[in-house]
Symmetry: C2
Amino acid sequence: MTDSPQNTRILLASRPHGEPTSDNFTIESAPIPVPGEGEVLLRTIYLSLDPYMRGRMSAAKSYAAPVEVGDVMEGGTVAEVVESNDDSLRPGDIVLAYVGWQAYGVASAKHVRKLDPAQAPVSTALGVLGMTGFTAYAGLLEIGQPQPGETVVVAAAAGPVGSAVGQIARIKGARAVGIAGGPDKVAWLEELGFDVAIDHRSPTFADDLKAAVPDGIDVYFENVGGHVWDAVLPHLNTYARVPVCGLVAHYNDTELPPGPDRSSRLMTTILTKSLTVRGFIQTEFVKAHYAAFQSDAAGWLRDGTLRHREDVVEGLENAPEAFAGLLKGKSFGKLLVQVGPDPTR
Amino acid sequence: MTDSPQNTRILLASRPHGEPTSDNFTIESAPIPVPGEGEVLLRTIYLSLDPYMRGRMSAAKSYAAPVEVGDVMEGGTVAEVVESNDDSLRPGDIVLAYVGWQAYGVASAKHVRKLDPAQAPVSTALGVLGMTGFTAYAGLLEIGQPQPGETVVVAAAAGPVGSAVGQIARIKGARAVGIAGGPDKVAWLEELGFDVAIDHRSPTFADDLKAAVPDGIDVYFENVGGHVWDAVLPHLNTYARVPVCGLVAHYNDTELPPGPDRSSRLMTTILTKSLTVRGFIQTEFVKAHYAAFQSDAAGWLRDGTLRHREDVVEGLENAPEAFAGLLKGKSFGKLLVQVGPDPTR
């Protein structure tokens, strides 16, 4: 693929109604783009797939503008510089960029970050040492503020954000309870050192959660919503903090669930328990905390206190199916698409 | 009443289902209690009536234990010391106490605070210079954190908390938009200097609110819930703060409203707008901020930048009806029951 004279790109073909399907995407060939002044031509090695992309596929107003129908799907990438019109980068350099679902892309040299393959595998710049790791770090520490001995519960705990949340909670002296779907994920959480791991698909889920939090819940890191949130809410302690990072159970909702309307009960619980419920995306915290994160996370990765897992799908053409599976909880760890060969491995 | 050899007390007779009625209370005569070691006998002058009392009438777990059926209803009072078994207080002293809905009560001298009638009318210790003023101050400044030029919207703005919230917002350089029920309240908010005052009973309420917040809402001080919250939510800006102080529209709810279930949509809005929704009661902030509040509020009261209004109902026997009216939005400013004569006036 790297020697192909053509680019391969995946465009948003139509906005999904509910779950995204292959009909929502178009795969096409196109000329390889030509970098302008101060720009670089990049060959994609890894494309990151993340739940937030579901939001970008919809026209609804959110924290970021939607992808327009007919445009290349957005996404973070690790890429090799093929041509450079900027003194700061040379062919062969590996960079973190944001050129989306395509085999080649052009970016301003100012908008990419050079990676050092000697420090860590370059793919980690999309995961544990990148946006997903930072999402966990900033949301947990800045909003959740776990104290030693407190109980932190995290949903989607086998995902790249959730698995980091639980491990960082333990590094900070808190108890970590992970909620995930299926016995394989639960076993992995136990291997990572979570104090308790619970399967939300189990018929005894609510009782299992209750037993796991004898002192209640001080921090609930929300990635999911739905029946997991319903089970957590009664166990939240007074002054509990709820960083709301994602609601993957609702991204494909096409209509509101039937009644009764429980929104006033939710507000009443927030009031009577003096809860802090705080939505966020990591960009808000980059300026103040990204440097500290990089230093902390690299250290934890080196000494083995922070572990991670990558789920690598081969071939850009398989991105749509892998993305649909991600929203259904099929992946495990950080989901990456290997778009082209990794010269650092 | 002050010369009566008997005490008059109002007990919780039964827990209300929905709106409290006179059947939920018993008025009885009882012997005047006798103070023990370190205690004082107090004659109630003013009893404060506050929405939080509705929560205490229910058995449901909340931030405070419920009043037991057969017990005296709880409440803050300003009282005169009749007898003292403690060197710190003498007969004739006026104190802030918490002896509830009764003409006489006994309290530990340590648990009352002596008031100086020369500094401010003693009734203000139950309102603008007391719990309600502090609720506004702490919730707005610690959670809301309004910045100069931001827009603060407050519900139940003609209540003792809401009216202080709007005025303090203006003192801090923010725009204050007050929402209240009925033209008299709206006119009073305008008199207090709110930038805009809106009647939530008006058929054009949603449009009026939209017009009042051309730059969106940065802080929404929630006292109400219901259709006011529904109208506010779409106008909240990214990073808006929502101190949740009360939900008076829901205190008498006996069942959840019909569907659809909008709770997932509420969570989605919290996520996509990076909102902070934070329940609180003022006690949490007393240690860190009460002294600053007392100094600030007394200064603002003296120089006229913070104004207030008291709605005084005569006679303890009228407390149940006045309380029911409070929950329906009938009162205006701080609702007090004059239980006995005020020797300082």
